[in-house]
């Protein structure tokens, strides 16, 4: 292990004194805890284990992203636990580190800042990629072999995907929405009769003549990891925002109806509104209508999506007000995955119980509708509850697959426009712009690689947690503070120092280092879903153990296409592990052999799974375990990551 810190005994004694003083002062001031989370190894993604840092309800962790970079992500603690402990069936180990409130706030703010900045930096990289394709598509004017696929969020609320775009000049639909007709009249009264049509013409003109930004590759060089290039509102963003606004204005100008399937109007008793609830939604129409009129004159660059959502909400709120039943938009994302409930291993009656709870949540939201003005957030909470209950209840009664993932807070309904409207710029100008953006993107990627190149040993999910902690501690010190001062600050504020170099870059070793050297108040092991169920009374006893110990007779596990084939679980046994591993290895060899013969048909997927299975089984021969078996869906259990 390499450790550059010069640590003579005298220095250690000095640091010990600092630590004692710090502990004494900590006892006098209010304290908080931050959690160091270690996620057990498993097959496939992060097979060597994973680590994260928890600040209250937020979990920060580094993930490997394309192309060969590492990025900081923030997740809700419940979602993080659900993914790793439930779906991926891994054990979690939570070490609670006691820190002062000041240290907690300072470190949290630093992680949050790093997260926000990296998010913008990486999004800019993606946008430049889209921009290259957009320029090429504009240059080829619809003749391109690879269409640009320009996503227009919200447009599919009003426009059919196959509908020829920009029909304002062609054949508008004959069926009109009376709600949007009234809104259009209001807009015309406020801004003038030709306001909407004039805006559409102005946008069409802008889109035809929108010139590439005059940028130099150097404009995109972030001088430090803390800065984001200022031209990050790119040509791609500008073009897409204009086009989205164009769709919104067209929907209003043509007073379009909502498309079938983008909203729900159930007549079941759970959706009936009493007089007070009805009145609240009737008043909400006015709030929406006022907001839309203001939004049409907004300075924000992207009002198009907001306009379409608000117009759609206005239509369904009006329907609720008229009918006395809650009418609401479908909030599931377009590619939400649906599951056949009969194929998910849940006890009898489970889904009906869950549906009852969702119904109760919906009723509570309706009862709690405020007497005063309903806010957008309040309406969104109601919309979400209605979506959940309807999706589950109708899935149960109609025996159709249910969307258990992918519920958003606003409707998605993205229309992917394969060919953007033609540009008046010459193909040479557009292709030149495409080439220049490519050069800018390549140079920008080099900058990102300087700061974020993923490296298995020196820049991975563990090392970056500790490096970011060190940067956060450095913020509490004078700018001239060197590594020694940062280490002393670590001792003072966290109780010790952990060097992220060898061997601490390995997730489970780092967790042990944290337990030994930071001021850890407690360490809690949260068992994986399967092991937690096995520890509960229902599955205790030898017969149940034997039944659940293999994938053929297990009731707690169903083979999931994401796992390699295996016969025995080895994560909850030690002595028979090599024996079980040998059987698993045989299964993996057979799967690999089958994969070889299937190679021309499945692009090597079976072979890849088999090879992965062979590695997972081989380590079992040496008493180690990686594979746990994963799940496509599980109901959430008791949350363990309670701050």
């Amino acid at each position: 292990m390499s450790r550059a810190f010069p640590s003579p005994r005298a220095l250690k004694r000095g640091l010990a004194a600092v630590a004692l003083l710090a502990a004494a002062s900590l006892a006098a001031e209010p304290s908080k805890s931050l959690g160091y989370l270690y996620v057990d190894a498993s097959e496939g993604n992060s097979s060597g284990g994973h680590v994260a840092l928890q600040f209250d309800g937020a979990v920060y962790h580094f993930q490997h992203v394309e192309p060969g970079l590492i990025q900081l992500f923030r997740e809700n603690a419940g979602d993080f636990e659900y993914r790793y402990r439930y779906l991926e069936n891994r054990n979690l180990e939570v070490s609670r580190i006691t820190v002062s409130e000041d240290t907690f706030r300072s470190l949290r703010d630093h992680f949050e800042q790093r997260y926000q900045i990296q998010k913008r930096q990486f999004e800019l990289f993606q946008a430049l990629g889209h921009e290259i394709r957009l320029f090429r598509s504009l240059a080829e004017d619809g003749r391109d072999s690879e269409p640009a696929e320009l996503p227009i969020p919200g447009a599919a609320l009003f426009f059919e995907p196959q509908e020829p775009p920009f029909s304002a000049n062609g054949n508008p639909p004959t069926a009109r929405s009376p709600v949007l007709s009234a809104l259009r009249q209001r807009v015309q009264a406020r801004y003038g009769k030709d306001f909407i049509a004039g805006k559409i013409r102005a946008i069409d003109h802008k889109l035809r003549h929108l010139a590439p930004l005059r940028l130099n590759p150097g404009d995109f060089d972030p001088p430090t990891p803390d800065s984001v290039p200022s031209p990050d509102y790119t040509y791609y963003h500008r073009y897409r925002d204009l086009l989205t606004l164009r769709f919104a204005l067209q929907a209003l100008e043509e007073t379009r109806r909502l498309r079938t399937g983008v909203y729900h109007a159930p007549k079941a008793g759970a959706f009936r509104l009493d007089d007070r609830q009805k009145a609240v939604l009737c008043r909400f129409q006015k709030t929406l209508s006022d907001g839309i009129v203001e939004l049409l004159d907004s300075r924000r660059p992207d009002p198009g999506y907001a306009l379409m959502v608000q117009m759609a909400r206005l239509i369904v709120a009006a329907r609720s007000c008229e009918s006395g039943f809650l009418v609401f938009l479908d909030l599931f994302v377009d590619d939400a995955q649906a599951f056949s409930l009969a194929k998910l291993p849940q006890p009898p009656g489970f889904w009906r119980q869950l549906a009852k709870r969702q119904q109760a949540a919906l009723q509570q939201n309706l009862t709690n509708l405020p007497k005063r003005a309903l806010t957008e957030t309040g309406y969104s909470v109601l919309e979400t509850a209605a979506n959940r209950y309807l999706e589950l209840m109708s899935g149960i009664t109609e025996k159709r697959p249910v969307r258990l993932f992918g519920l958003a807070s606003l409707p998605d309904r993205t229309l992917n426009l394969s060919h953007p409207p033609p540009s008046d710029l010459s193909p040479a100008t557009l292709l030149g712009a495409s080439r220049r953006t490519r050069e800018i993107r390549e140079r920008y990627l080099d900058s990102l690689k300087r700061f974020y190149r993923y490296h298995l040993l020196s820049r991975n999910c563990v090392t970056e947690i500790f490096h970011t902690l060190e940067q956060g501690l450095a913020r509490t010190l004078p700018p001239s503070a060197g590594p020694k001062a940062i280490r002393e600050a670590s001792v003072e504020r966290l109780g010790g120092y952990v060097d992220p170099a060898m061997p601490n870059f390995i997730p489970f070793v780092s967790s042990r280092a944290v337990r030994r050297h930071y001021r850890v108040l407690s360490t809690r092991r949260l068992l994986s879903y399967r092991r937690e169920r096995l520890e509960s009374g229902e599955w205790k006893g030898l017969p149940a153990r034997l039944r659940e110990g293999n994938t053929v007779t297990a009731t707690l596990y169903q083979f999931n296409g994401a796992d390699s084939l295996f016969l025995f679980f080895t994560d909850d046994v030690i002595l028979p592990r090599p024996l079980y591993g040998a059987a698993n290895l045989l299964v993996a060899v057979l799967q690999s052999a089958a994969g070889l013969s299937l190679l021309p048909f499945d692009h090597g997927q079976t072979l890849q799974r088999g090879a992965l299975g062979m590695v997972s089984s081989a380590v079992e021969l040496a008493f180690f375990n990686i594979r746990k078996g994963s799940y496509r869906y599980l109901p959430p259990g008791e949350p363990g990551l309670i701050p």
Partner: protein, 156 residues
């Protein structure tokens, strides 16, 4: 004293096993990076996972979270923008945060401006610089400027 040197001799077999498996896949791989087009396809793709089927946030919780997220975002934006702030890009970021709270028309929501004020305070913006941000971010609207001021003066 807690300056750590891991006893590598004790951990060697585990280290070998884990290094072997890390070589296979390394750190957790982000799903969002597998399809870069998806992440920018829609500003509204702030998806709630089934972990929230049993504990959805209430409206006040969501509003508090929204205000805090706007504050964090503003502070980070100011910190990373050096001399010039790109207001268009800033506003797109606000729209993304608002979408997670179910808010489409964030300009109409006082919490947005209170969050911005709180974020400016957090970023240590003062004096003339603060007044310039306050004026530009509110578009000179008196009510919005007042909300920014309220957020700036709030304690938490």
């Amino acid at each position: 004293m807690n300056i750590h040197t891991a006893p590598i001799s004790k951990t060697l077999p585990g280290v070998i096993a884990v290094v072997l498996t890390m070589v296979l896949s390394g750190c957790s791989f982000s799903d969002s990076s597998k399809s870069s087009s998806q992440s920018s396809a829609s500003i509204s793709k702030s998806i709630s996972s089934p972990s929230r089927w049993s504990s959805e946030s209430s409206s006040p919780d969501k509003e508090k979270k929204y205000l805090d997220e706007v504050a964090d975002y503003t502070a980070a934006y100011v910190h990373s923008s050096n001399e010039k702030m790109n207001y268009e890009s800033f506003q797109r970021g606000i729209a993304e945060i608002a979408a997670k709270a179910g808010i489409a028309n964030w300009e109409n929501n006082p919490l947005t401006y209170k969050g911005i004020g709180k974020g400016l305070k957090k970023a240590g913006v003062k004096g003339v610089e603060y007044e310039t941000y306050q004026k530009n971010l509110s578009g000179g609207d008196y009510g919005k400027m007042n909300d920014i001021q309220k957020g700036y003066e709030s304690r938490h």
